[in-house]
Symmetry: D2
Subunit: 295 residues, 4 copies
């Protein structure tokens, strides 16, 4: 975590608790009483109970202005609740801005969009690093004062290239990775340490058209809508938990090139929404599904 982006609008810092456990009476009362007891004013509380397996999820956002507990003390205060409800609890603070790396291949529309939103203050992130297997985006990225690394890859050098990237991510102390149209398949070994912190944009409405060339597949099947999917990356290609999806109408008039053009607008928007939700600590993963609280 690091200092906020320069354009981040002024607003007092907030704490966010992300809680999950088995549903049982008293959780809401206990958590909200703890926050209130510390002098925190809850500005947003959302919860969800899965009716199938009885899992309980909660997000509590509260102002830190009058909050008496520092971060260590808050952790201490949470311990009895964590024990009582056997719950997992992530604690986040909005003045600790996640450090982000973006991986990209040849097509730059998602990269450019994320950088532009970041400059506008839409993304509470510290974009530290852009890595590509192509040299093309050096000038664009440096115009945003972000580091750019070019790590080419061939089928033979994949393992080496992944090792180099992993080192770069570690050196930059990155909290989150965004695959902004990075067209190389990442090995399970690369992905594992980033579980729940690496987001990809796939250019189809998953689970339809997994794998390569989804716009060609969509054209071949004659669908009347095309879609895109932002999801967490797991070891299983295109099978990770879905964060967001959207579609747009197409017709027999649209060839593959037109699908690609229409799809680009979707890719940009859906990836940005998913990344923003993650950065705002609004996403919880539950098996292969996500709870995305409203922003």
């Amino acid at each position: 975590m690091s200092a906020p982006s320069p354009t981040e609008t002024e607003r007092s810092a907030r704490g966010v608790l992300l809680v999950s456990c088995l549903d049982q009476p008293g959780i809401v009362a206990a958590v909200s009483s703890l926050v209130y007891g510390g002098g925190g004013n809850i500005v947003d509380l959302q919860q969800h109970t899965d009716p199938v397996d009885g899992a309980f999820f909660q997000r509590v956002e509260f102002e830190l202005d009058q909050f008496r507990f520092d971060r260590v003390e808050l952790a201490e205060q949470l311990k009895p609740l964590i024990a009582r409800f056997d719950m997992r609890c992530q604690v986040r603070f909005t003045d600790e801005v996640p450090r982000v790396a973006i991986l990209v291949s040849r097509e730059a529309h998602c990269l450019q969009d994320l950088l532009a939103r970041w400059r506008l203050g839409e993304l509470p992130a510290d974009i530290r690093l852009v890595i590509s297997n192509h040299p093309d985006h050096a000038e664009l990225v440096s115009s945003f004062d972000v580091a750019y690394e070019h790590h080419p890859v061939t089928p033979q050098t994949r393992a080496d290239q992944e090792r180099v990237i992993s080192t770069s991510l570690a050196d930059a102390d990155v909290d989150m990775v965004v695959l902004a149209r990075y067209m190389q398949i990442l090995s399970p070994g690369f992905v594992a340490p980033w579980e729940g912190r690496i987001i990809n944009i796939h250019h189809s409405f998953l689970p339809a058209f997994q794998g390569a060339r989804p716009y060609h597949q969509a054209h071949g099947r004659g669908v009347k809508l095309i879609g895109v999917t932002a999801h967490y990356v797991t070891a299983d290609l295109d099978e990770g938990p879905i964060i967001d999806q959207d579609v747009t109408r197409v017709s027999h008039r649209d060839d593959v090139e037109a699908l690609r053009r229409r799809g680009r607008d979707l890719e940009v928007i859906v990836l940005a929404r998913a990344v923003r939700a993650h950065l705002e600590h609004r996403v919880l993963i539950h098996g292969n599904r996500t709870i995305v609280f409203d922003g």
Copy 2:
């Protein structure tokens, strides 16, 4: 309130608290502690704080199975909180099903849709009565075992007709009125006692195209989308708090008749969504705006 509709799916009854007051620390903790103290399990909690005027809104839904307070006792328990936070608090129980009257003119698509959804169990309502200024819908309505009253109206008899309708609504002990394409303008005197409990569907994307013949207006202006709006009725025509809206794409190919046809599908869906939100106690009115909690 009365017994649930025959198709209502079996589920244990729930209590719903709808709270509004000025934002201040401790509300969530106090309300959730009260519910927990009574043995209630909160299954859904949503809140909203208006950043402009600092108004606080909360909806708490909890299971009644293990709840120890009866309705009188719950009211008693809430009194200190109401005093402490100077809050308004509506208390609802899902086994007390609102009694509903539908007013309709010549076009029956919204009426038919509401009745069909009700039969499918989508609407937690007791539809008691359909009133029309046309005789046409008697057979349709009676096939759903609902009473039908035909009260014709002319410009000269408006006041009398409204009096007759008011009496019918009172006799049927109705909790809520739905204007399902009722094309007569209701007087402020008629509307006043139903404030916050009478919903209209207007066939435009308000505030565009208020008043008469909105599809003609839309065609004349050459818009590329048409919309509809479900809103609470107030003394000011088409100015009441908006509950839901939606649009659909149109083109130069669509004449007024085509707009009407495309619009019907929207009217049906948006009115049903708004009525359902109201019946599920998910809507709070705040000045001329609404907070609609997720369903």
Copy 3:
């Protein structure tokens, strides 16, 4: 074909030519000159050329008021063009209204919607017959003055039941079959004679979630949109040419029952749009894809 539905609005009859062949210069000029030569005024002309295989498709709609050729003569006039361009040409007249049969199982929402639209004059059809493997819809269907046949089916009696249905369709001289949530899998032998004239609504965004219980599949995968697909039925289950699709947003709050409820609204609208497009002679099949001209 038979007389128009009673509510069909008055408009002078029109001819429709649906042409397909290999793209080559002169087709538009030749066809439009033929219509003009007969005194017909073209009110709508749409064409499409597939850039991949060079297939050409055209729909020409023209007023018959001043048209000098009767139906036999028009066929005669078209013969040289058909030979010259090696083209297929369907000839339709809007005063010959297709006879339609609807097959339905237990859920009646699509059936009811189609009947209601038909009564409103939205569907240029002669709905002759509703067939179901359940007895439930007799009263509903007869209230629209349409014949209702109940043909129950078990895994053992499938072939017999299909034979009975085939006979009923033949006896009623049906032009088109609509599967309005008919939940039995039809054998290739049953489907074959109806190729290009039998439309199904599948409750998923095909090709995602083919087969049984798509809402369960969608919930299991954690998608953020659910969809439906109207398509021509072929021997391959859920693989036929897609006519129309649509989606709606869902969230982690929606259980399977909620997906079903949200999906019903989509099913109704998308099936109606597809059936309407077919009845208005706006659909051409090209391999496993469709050209759907604007309505």
Copy 4:
């Protein structure tokens, strides 16, 4: 007109005829026969007849490869048809790329998007010039090798500033002007010579929320969708012919800042769609409405 943008994909040049006149038999046959007579292959033909006033509109796109008429000869050939049908006919060639100027104020998202699409080859334009009343975008614009002029304005200097801009547009021999969030009101005298060639993006769903600060107006009214409108600019503010519109869902959670953020995504996409339609010669103006042929 000038040479195509460097990224324009290779495709043989095409001619486009945009025809409007009173509806009468024989137009389609006459125009298509003329094209065929010159050896042109029609690749797209769309027409529209307004049922209210009987106006006829047609767009014919044909390949120029085998076309025997040069541009002068084509004009000559069209003369008898223009006389016969009393029609207006615009003739366009896709290898003559319109020269475009973009006007912008402080917010750069639409400007940046148009430039990025142009570089990707999505816009068949020659972007010659960007003019702003703010100095901020010089670096961005020059990174696309486009000229940038900064012409500040105050209420006192408006007339002078408009004169300077008019001269710049004339000097650059511009065919079309795009107001990409240019927040100054242009005088009727400035607009007049650009009638039908100057497109604005207004950040509301017109005709709702005309004038200043539409997102504030939308928030105040409590709408559940916000929209944007791309339209030709006329002397009447926000009253010109609408080319495209779109909306996105909002809720009580969204303050004005959130509406602005959500709106930006719409503004970018709808303006780009409208500009693209204009550049592809797919828009005809009919009174205060547009016919936008499919792209």
